[in-house]
Structures are given as C-alpha cells and as structure tokens.
C-alpha cells in the first residue's frame, strides 16, 4: 500500500515561480522497496541580461549507502538534464528500459525570462519547467536500474558537471531529432516480426491507442484552461461594474450590499484563476508527461524489434556462411575451408548471443511495461485526488464568501 503518498501544498504567493517547491515523495516500486531517494528542485536565476541562465538547486534526500551522505545539494542547468537523458539513452535504451524523457527546450520561453519580463506568463513558464524537470528527475531516480548508473549518481552528487555542449545549440526541431535518434523510432520501418508472444502485439496496440486519446484530451484540457481564464476575466470586469453601480445607488444599505457583492465576485474571480492554474498544472502537464512517456514506451518496443532483427540477420548470415562452407567443400578448396569454419563458429556464437539478448530485452520490456502501468495508474489517481481536493477547498471558500455576504443582503431596507 502507498503510505508515502503525499504532496505538500506549495506556498501560494500571487506570482508562482521563485518560491514554490513541489515535493514528490518516492513512489512504491513493485511493492518490494520504497524508492528511497527523493529529489527536489528549486530555482536560481544567475547572471544578467542575455547571459543569464536559470540554474536549479537539486536537493537530494536518500537513505541509500551508495551516496556520500544522506542529504546533499548541487546546482544544475537545463542542458545538464538534457545531457543526462542523452547519456542514459545511449547506454540503456538497448536494454529495453523505458528512459524517462525530459521536457522540451523552449527558446522563446527562456528568452522572455532572460530579458527580465515580469509578466505572469513567464512566471508560469518558469514554474512549469521547474516542476517538469523535478518530475523527470524523480522518475529517473525511481527506476531501480537507472539509479544504479554512475551518471545518475554523478548528476545528483558531483559539485561541477562538464557542460553538456552538444545539447546547447539544440532548437525545438533539433531536440526532437535527438530524442528520436535516441529512442530510434523504427516504427516507420515495417519490420515483419514473427511474434511468438501475442502479449507484445496487444500491448503496442494499446499504447498507440492510449497515446491518441491522451493527445485529444490534452487539447481539450488546454481549451478548458482558456475558458476558465476567460471566465475569471469576465468576473473581474463584472465585479468592477457592480462596484460602480453600488457607488451610484442612493439607498445606503443597497449601496453597501452592492459593493459587498463586488468584493465577493472579485474573490470568486481569484478562485477561478486558481482553478485554471490547477487544471493546468494538475491535468495538462500530467497528460503532456504521459504523452512523452508513451513515446518512450514505444521506443523500447522498437528496441526489442531491433534486437530481434539483429538476431534474424545473424541467423541469415550464419546460414550464408554454412552455404559457403558447403560450396567450398564441394569445390574442394581446403585452404579457404578453415576460414569458413572459423566464420561459422563466430556467427554461431553471435546467434546464440543475439538470441539471448532478444529474450533478455523481451523480459525487460515486459517488466518495464508492467511497472509503467502501475506507476501510471498511481500517478493518475494521485493527481485526480489532488485536483478534487483543490476543488473542495475552492467550494469551502465560496461558502465562506457567500455566508459573509448574506447578512449584508438581508440588511437592505
């Protein structure tokens, strides 16, 4: 059971951004052991003008002995996170692991922040990115195999990391290309795989369907967020109008009641704003994360296909070598025969190796997908509960406001 399921509510100042810390507690993994490593990100804007960059304080809390201490903090840049992903992809995607993808680089968003624009959309962008990076890191750290990777440990612990130069100049399209290369979207190629295990066929179909649905949902949630922002705007405008009406009303009690009504509507407008922000951070971002993750899942299925292809190619090559040997025997060329026999031995070894690789990656992919499904179910449930709790809080506020207003309305004479 998940007793470690908590999200502490951030300290809500009017401008989210530099004060918020979202704490994600470790997720249960296979019920065998708690993810005993927890990473929190907070913001740090360094430098000035166009040379300014956003640094993140990565604070880790862990009970694992492989780290130098129980708590430690380092500074990292966005490109460091991308660099970590690249390294992990290179090393582990061929094992069939689902490598969590980082959030996209956004040159436009970052430029606005650098120029020092103090508007709510850049504060939102900053917070969005911070939260996304935190979730990304937490997923990496909760993957039992990835956590063992020295690059991950280095990322968390090492004071200074060499700049990940290759990710620096990446544009949006370049970034996508890098992601695709790393996960190797082989699905474009039609590899006719002789599927022994129907589980994989069914699963990949499910994944593709789900990705479609989530994309559709994502669009709808964005639309909902905009609607709520519009409602909030209209409520604010209405509140001002009612205040004006109240001031021109010559009956004193009614005048006061109307200005109270204006205040209630003003507070309700704030509730709508918070709700919109809630919709966005709780749902929209969740969906975006899972759309990216499903891409990563497809990636590991592709890796498995590649492994199968390698095995088949090796089988074919072995067959060819055997044919060559047979031909040589028939043509009676003993000097070349030894070479042929050597090559056959070589390819036999490869076939065995690749077959074993294929079985191994199949088992891993299967395990990964099962883990992923569990995590996803948990993630969605948690976010929905969080969402409902905030709606509940909102309703409690509404009740307070209207209860305060009612006696004012009754006092009109």
């Amino acid at each position: 059971a998940d007793s470690s399921f908590k999200t502490s509510e951030p300290d809500q100042s009017r401008r989210p951004g530099l004060h918020i810390q979202y704490v994600l507690y470790g997720m249960d993994f296979f019920g065998l052991f708690f993810c005993s490593c927890k990473a929190i990100l907070s913001l740090l804007l360094t430098g000035d003008g166009m040379n300014a960059y956003m640094a993140y304080k990565v604070s880790t809390q862990t009970s694992l002995t492989m780290f130098r201490s129980k708590t430690f903090t380092v500074r990292r840049r966005f490109s460091d996170f991308l660099g970590l992903f690249e390294k992990l992809s290179e090393k582990h995607s061929q094992n069939g692991y689902i490598i969590p993808p980082p959030p996209e680089k956004s040159i436009l968003g970052m430029t606005k922040v650098k120029v020092g624009k103090e508007d709510p959309s850049s504060a939102e962008f900053v917070e969005r990115r911070r939260a996304a990076l935190e979730r990304y890191l937490q997923r990496v750290v909760c993957h039992p195999s990835l956590l063992q990777d020295p690059d991950v440990r280095e990322f968390l612990e090492k004071e200074e990391l060499p700049r990940a130069v290759s990710t620096q100049a990446l544009s949006g399209a370049g970034f996508l290309k890098m992601l695709n290369k790393a996960t190797d979207a082989v699905s474009k190629m039609t590899i006719k795989m002789n599927e022994q295990d129907v589980w994989f066929d069914e699963k990949i179909q499910d994944v593709e369907n789900e990705e479609q649905h989530l994309r559709k949902l994502h669009v709808m949630v964005e639309s909902l967020v905009n609607h709520r922002k519009e409602l909030s705007g209209n409520t604010a405008v209405f509140a001002k109008s009612v205040a004006m009406l109240g001031s021109s009303e010559d009956n004193t009690a009614l005048s006061r009641a109307l200005s109270q009504l204006a205040e209630v509507e003003d507070r309700i407008e704030q509730l709508h704003q918070e709700q919109a922000s809630n919709d966005f951070f709780t749902f929209s971002e969740l969906l975006a994360d899972y759309i990216r993750l499903l891409g990563a899942v497809r990636g590991c299925f592709d890796q498995r296909m590649k492994a199968w292809q390698r095995w088949q190619d090796a089988e074919n090559m072995l067959q060819k070598k055997r044919e060559t040997e047979a031909k040589l025997l028939w043509a009676n060329k003993p000097d070349k025969l030894q070479q042929a026999k050597d090559e056959i031995a070589e390819w036999e070894a490869k076939v065995t190796q690749y077959e074993r690789d294929f079985e191994r990656i199949s088992a891993t992919v299967r395990k990964e997908v099962i883990r992923f499904d569990k995590e996803k179910a948990r993630d969605f449930k948690r976010q929905i509960i969080k969402y409902l709790e905030s709606v509940l809080h909102s309703q409690q506020q509404m009740i307070k406001y209207w209860e305060a207003f009612l006696p004012e309305a009754k006092a009109i004479a």
């Binding site: 649905h213 709808m220 609607h227 109008s241 009406l245 009740i399 009612l406």
Partner: protein, 374 residues
C-alpha cells in the same frame, strides 16, 4: 380586485402564444374569470398605447417585455443535429438534454417577463383602469395589431431622433425643484451603470458554460481507462461525481442568470422608463415656460391675451399634474427597486450557498471513498 397571469404558453415555429388569464371582480368585465390568447406584438401595442396617451404622461410606463428570442438556442440545436454522426450516442443525448433545458429556460423567462409587464399594469392605480388594457384582457379575437409598416417605422425613427436631441436640451436646464434635480442626476448616472453591469453580467454568465466542456473531457478520459483494470473503478466513481457536480454547476449558472442578470436587465428598462417620465415632465416645463413668455409678450402687445392666458393655464395644469404624479412615481420606483434588489440578492446568496454546500458534500463523500480505495 384584478389578478392577471399567464397560465399557459405555446412556442410555435416563429412565435409564442401566451394565454392571458384574468380573475376580476370589476364591473366592467362580462365575467369574473376568463382567458385570451395573445402574441408579443399585442403586448407591444398595449405598451405603446400607454406611452402615446397624454393622460399617462405623469406615470412611469411599465417597460415593454423584450421580444422572445430563440434564434441562438435554435441554431445550437440545429448544429447539434448536424454533428450527430461525429459523437457517441451518449454524448449526443446528454448535449441534446442540455440544449433542450436551455431552450426551456429561455421560454420560461420570456413568459415571466410578459407576465411581469401585465402584473405591473394591473397593480398601477390608474393604468389598470385603462380601456385598451381591458380590451387586451377580454377581447377574445385577434387584436389585428399588424406590425408597423415601413412608413410608420420611419415616423417612429424621426420621433426618436427629435426626442434624443430634446433630451439633451432638457437635461441641460437646471430644475428649480431639488427633488427633481436630484432625481435627474441620479437617474442619468444610474441608468448608464445598470446598462454596463447588465452587459457584463451576461458575458460572465455565458462564460460559465466552461463547466460543460469539462464533462466531455471527462467522458473522453474515462474511455481511455475503462479497460485498464487497475484504475477503471476509480474512474467510474469520479465520472459519477462529475456528472452530479455538472448538474449543480448548470443550476448555479441558471440561478445567477435569473437572480442577477435578469434583475439588472429589468432595472435597465425601468430606469429608462423613469428617464422618459422625467423627459416628459421636462418637455411640459419647457412648454409652460414658453407659454409664460408668450403670455407676457401678448400682454405687452395687448394682442390675443385671452388665448395666451388659456394656453398658459393649460400648460401650467399639465405641468403641475405631471410633477405631482411623477414625484410619487419616482418614490415608488425607488421603493420597488430596493425591494427587488434585496429579494434577488438574498435569494442569489442563498442559492449559491445551497449549491456550494451540495458540491462540497458530493466532493467530500467521493474523496472519502477514493482515498480509502487506494
């Protein structure tokens, strides 16, 4: 006694037929209780007959009910019909129900507004005796009040143009009487502010429909997870919750519309009617002052003095009669307005509380179950 209500209404393709039901002990009527069928144009005819009647110049004429407007609703229903193929049967039924409820709400509103007009007339000590009103209530044939033809519409247009030019003139003259001076200043500002608030409340309430969208998001979401055994029971419970809260949200929007938006709309029209009264009084004052000037001139020239005296007398009487009734009317208007606002604001607050508490309870019980489940 005279009690009037609209006991029934029928919506046909492009018109609404109201059944006006009267209960009265007044001797002028043939029966004590009777009903006739009237359409919107006949209400307008009645209203205009009051406005055009010089005798009623000193009263606030109850504002005419707005024309029934189902165009927007009808358009939406049509669009829904066209898009039927692109959504599931469940979605279609739900949307259809929503739109039909909307249509019904608009219908109820137009009935209410026509009824309010008649009730205001019936409650007015002078207007209730009006002959046209009695004909309207009793005559069980069509009043043949054909819509104004082009020539008449043009005449109306010019009348309005002159009136607004005059309005500016009259508004500029400072009134000797403090009461009326205050009322004039007050009404001009108040009317504008109510207009603004009315428009903004409409826009705000229309935005409320965003909750409708969330329901579709939820339907879509549930589809994704229905087959996932780890989570579908969870999602089903949440679906149930959203289904119920959506209904509550729809009620909230409807109640806000009724208690706030409609209130503002009505007082927009009433304050205009009050302004019209002040205008008529202002006109009468100008006429009176002109008659005075004419009388002085006539006396000076010693020509047509008697005629000038008579004219002056008539103008004076007219002005004083209007002033007297206008004062009372404006005081009554204030009382009515304060009472209406009080009633509606109290009811609004009570309904908002009721709905928020309902929502809260649903959320609490659902969360209790969901948290226990995980």
């Amino acid at each position: 006694i005279l009690i009037v209500d609209i006991s029934d209404a029928l919506s046909e393709r492009d018109k609404v037929k109201f059944t006006v039901h009267t209960k009265s002990t007044l001797p002028n009527f043939k029966q004590n209780e009777f009903s006739v069928v009237r359409q919107h144009e006949e209400f307008i005819w009645l209203h205009d007959s009051f406005v055009e009647n010089e005798e009623y110049a000193g009263y606030i004429i109850p504002p005419a009910p707005p024309k029934p407007d189902f165009d927007a609703s009808r358009e939406k229903l049509q669009k829904l019909g066209e898009g039927e193929g692109s959504m599931t049967k469940e979605e279609f039924t739900k949307m259809k129900q929503e739109l039909e409820a909307e249509y019904l709400a608009i219908f109820k509103k137009t009935v209410a507004m026509h009824e309010v007009f008649l009730c205001r007339v019936a409650a007015h000590p002078v207007l209730r005796k009006d002959l046209n009103f009695h004909v309207f209530l009793e005559y069980n044939q069509d009043l043949s009040v054909r819509g104004k033809n082009k020539k008449e519409k043009l005449e109306d247009f010019f009348k309005n143009v002159v009136k607004s030019a005059d309005g500016v003139l009259v508004a500029g003259v400072k009134d000797v009487d403090d009461f009326f001076e205050h009322e004039k200043t007050f009404l001009l500002e108040y009317h504008n502010r109510v207009k603004d608030s009315s428009a903004k409340s409409d826009r705000m309430i229309r935005s409320h429909k965003s909750t409708f969208l969330f329901f579709f998001i939820w339907c879509e979401w549930s589809k994704v997870f229905l087959f996932c055994s780890l989570i579908n029971r969870f999602f089903l419970k949440v679906s149930e919750l959203f289904e119920k809260t959506r209904k509550i949200e729809a009620r909230v929007a409807a109640d806000e519309d009724l208690k706030l938006a409609d209130l503002l709309k009505y007082y927009l029209r009433e304050s205009q009617a009050a302004k019209d009264l002040l205008y008529r009084r202002g006109r009468a004052l100008v006429d009176y002052e002109n008659a005075n000037k004419a009388l002085d001139k006539a006396r000076a020239k010693n020509k047509d003095v008697l005629q000038a005296e008579t004219t002056q007398q008539v103008c004076c009487q007219k002005f004083e009669k209007i002033s007297e009734s206008a004062k009372q009317e404006l005081i009554d208007f204030k009382t009515r307005r304060v009472a209406a606002f009080r009633k509606n604001l109290v009811e609004l607050a009570e309904l908002e509380l009721k709905h928020a508490k309902g929502n809260l309870q649903l959320l609490q019980s659902c969360l209790g179950v969901l948290k226990g489940d995980t």
